[in-house]
């Protein structure tokens, strides 16, 4: 099936060389070495970016044949446009996220800069893949009993919480937080090449100042970590929330933080109660 989808993308972007790197639930991600509108020999002069300027990412939302045509077109267009606008807004706010280069909403296309690197096993550097790799190492390696649970993982998860806190302080909720949607990048400015997290995949994002929506965002991430990384999830969530608190502290907004956490407790409780007949 993906052969047909690739053909369709090639028709929409006829002059690009395309390599498929991932097929998620909603979209396919390709790499290309050709910038959509700049000349071939153009070299990026934007030194403030951490991105690899020799390649770019094309995110394509194909039509979903199981959906009714009208519904499908509406969803593709609105999610593509919404994601692109939020990526743009975040770039203006100096929030670490891939920069938007171009978009074609009715056809479900977004072109953005390339971020991330390849892990030891060849997988892309999402938080999920990184943690799974560490967990595998821990299970098979008796010398490093805590590699999935140590200081570097702690600092990583705290940073995830901080990023999320910053996002929420801008009154933006992600809407689809999972460890697959957190991409690790190598911090080029640091000498040791430290790894830090960035948020990606803003297709379900929206603007909201409601503490309830931010609490649901946190709850979705908590549950995603519990279901995907069950062994250490409680610890991961603790660290993540510490980082989240730090972000609010840094902007002297502790009152808002308290409100979100209060709402979070309510959302968690509703989750526990939810197995009733409505």
């Amino acid at each position: 099936m993906s052969v047909e989808i690739i053909k369709r993308v090639e028709q929409l972007l006829p002059y690009h060389d395309l390599k498929l790197i991932s097929q998620g639930a909603e979209a396919l991600v390709f790499i290309t070495t050709k910038h959509p509108y700049l000349p071939k020999n153009y070299k990026s002069l934007d030194l403030s970016t951490d991105a690899d300027s020799s390649k770019y990412i094309i995110k394509y939302r194909p039509p979903k044949p199981y959906r009714h045509e009208i519904l499908d077109k509406q969803i593709t267009k609105s999610r593509t446009a919404s994601e692109a606008k939020i990526l743009n807004k975040l770039t203006i706010l100096n929030f670490k996220t891939p920069k938007l280069i171009s978009m074609d909403a009715p056809h479900g296309l977004i072109i953005m800069e390339y971020i991330g690197y390849d892990l030891n096993n060849g997988d892309i550097s999402s938080l999920k893949n990184h943690l799974w790799l560490l967990e595998k190492q821990q299970e098979s390696n008796n010398y490093n009993p805590n590699v999935a649970n140590d200081a570097s993982v702690e600092s990583l998860l705290k940073m995830v919480g901080e990023r999320l806190g910053e996002l929420h302080l801008y009154d933006i909720v992600h809407g689809d937080l999972t460890s697959s949607n957190i991409m690790l990048i190598k911090d080029s400015e640091s000498e040791t090449g430290n790894v830090e997290p960035t948020l990606i995949d803003f297709g379900l994002s929206s603007y909201s100042s409601l503490s309830e929506d931010k609490a649901v965002d946190l709850y979705v991430l908590e549950r995603a970590l519990i279901s995907t990384h069950p062994v250490y999830a409680t610890q991961y969530n603790e660290w993540m929330l510490e980082g989240y608190c730090q972000a609010y502290k840094a902007q002297k907004s502790m009152k808002r933080h308290v409100e979100v956490i209060r709402r979070l407790e309510g959302v968690r409780l509703r989750g526990r109660k939810r197995s009733l007949l409505g």
Binding site: P230, L277, G278
Partner: protein, 383 residues
């Protein structure tokens, strides 16, 4: 491999369990048989009997706990006798001696109906001297689905009147990856059926499905997927108000189909009840398929198993199949004997638990309306 025969009695070569289910308006009694050894494709569980009676209310009415509990109370003895007769053929006085355990739904579900059934279980347990096993209703659906379809490790979509969950197995628990943030999908469909005064026989969802087959105009409804979760109370409110306007003859521009064949308004078509049913299904099921796809991608699974009463719906199965085949995966579903609430799934899941040495003391046989799927330790699996 887990050893399922650690508690085998001397000279025993097979197990028999009685299952009692009554968490909603269906009272189901089933008797299942397991041969010793692992459950495999060559050593399947055998359904010896699977009987059910459903409490049905007049059109436009939902089922209340008090009446549902009464229905269960008054039918349970008859149905148990029927099940035993069908399974063992001999009289009541001998058949019960074959049973290893009496399994009952401990939760989740409606309080009073659950109570009616557990009282029957407790009575029989004491009368016959047979241990009881409390079973989680959702686990019953999942384990029966796996046994009937041979799906090894699928992402499970559990959709019924009381539950809407996306579940994947990991380390001895059925973990909830996504779920409804407010009402269950079956509940949404049932309540819409009440507004339209659709008959509750055989079930409101079935009748909505038949009407939807005749619908053709699609109305845009709020589409509310939130990550791996979904919300349905907004859609229900929206479509209920459309239906009310339709009945009251109120003018509402949403109730006029967008045809635009010749660009004029001459061929304006009015939206019908069939169109509303059609649009509701298309929207709700698309949301379910989307969150299922997300879960599949997230855990790298390529099998989907649909369980629960709403899983009988052909359109949902069709849409899910299209998505799954697109991903080169496989889809599994059961027929109405097993996807609608039944006693055999309780007997099966209960027997698995019993074979691992569990049983429920009388003092612990309290039912609970709230019982999360991931609270159960799945001892009978070690993958």
């Amino acid at each position: 491999m887990v050893n399922l025969d650690q508690y085998l009695k001397p000279n025993q070569t097979e197990y028999y369990a009685l299952g009692l289910e009554g968490s909603a308006n269906k009272l189901g009694i089933g008797i299942i048989k397991h041969n010793i050894g692992q459950l495999t494709t060559l050593n399947k569980a055998e359904v010896l009997s699977n009987v059910r009676d459903t409490y049905i209310t007049p059109a436009g009415e939902g089922f209340l706990p008090r009446d549902t509990a009464r229905h269960h109370r008054n039918w349970v003895v008859r149905l148990i006798k029927e099940a035993l007769n069908e399974a063992f053929g001999c009289g009541l006085h001998d058949s019960f001696k074959k049973l290893d355990c009496i399994c009952f739904t401990q939760g989740p579900g409606m309080g009073a109906p659950l109570q009616s059934v557990v009282i029957a279980a407790r009575t029989l347990s004491q009368l016959w001297g047979i241990p009881m096993i409390g079973v989680n209703h959702c686990i019953g659906h999942i384990e029966m689905g796996r046994e009937i379809t041979n799906a090894m490790n699928p992402v499970v979509l559990y959709v019924s009147g009381g539950n809407t969950q996306i579940i994947a197995y990991s380390r001895q628990r059925y973990r909830i990856f996504g779920e409804t943030l407010d009402i269950a999908i079956g509940n949404c469909l049932d309540r819409f059926a009440r507004v339209l005064k659709i008959s509750n026989y055989p079930s409101p969802g079935y009748n909505i499905e038949q009407l939807a087959k005749k619908g053709k105009n699609f109305i845009e409804l709020p589409y509310t997927v939130k990550g791996m979760d979904l919300s349905m109370s907004g859609i229900l409110e929206f479509i209920e108000s459309l239906a009310n306007d339709l009945f009251n003859g109120k003018k509402n521009k949403l109730l006029i189909a967008k045809n635009g064949t010749n660009g004029t308004n001459e061929d304006e078509e009015k939206i019908t009840i069939e169109d509303l049913c059609f649009s509701l299904q298309e929207c709700l099921y698309a949301m379910l398929v989307e969150i299922t796809e997300r879960a599949m991608a997230h855990v790298n699974a390529n099998q989907v198993l649909i369980v629960g009463g709403v899983g009988c719906n052909e359109r949902l199965q069709e849409m899910m199949k299209i998505m799954v085949l697109d991903r080169n995966g496989s889809i599994f579903a059961t027929d109405e004997r097993f996807c609608i609430d039944n006693g055999i799934m309780i007997a099966h899941a209960g027997l698995l638990s019993y074979r691992m040495g569990d049983f429920t003391e009388l003092s612990e046989s309290v039912c609970t309306q709230k019982f999360r799927t991931d609270e159960v330790l799945v001892k009978w699996r070690d993958d």
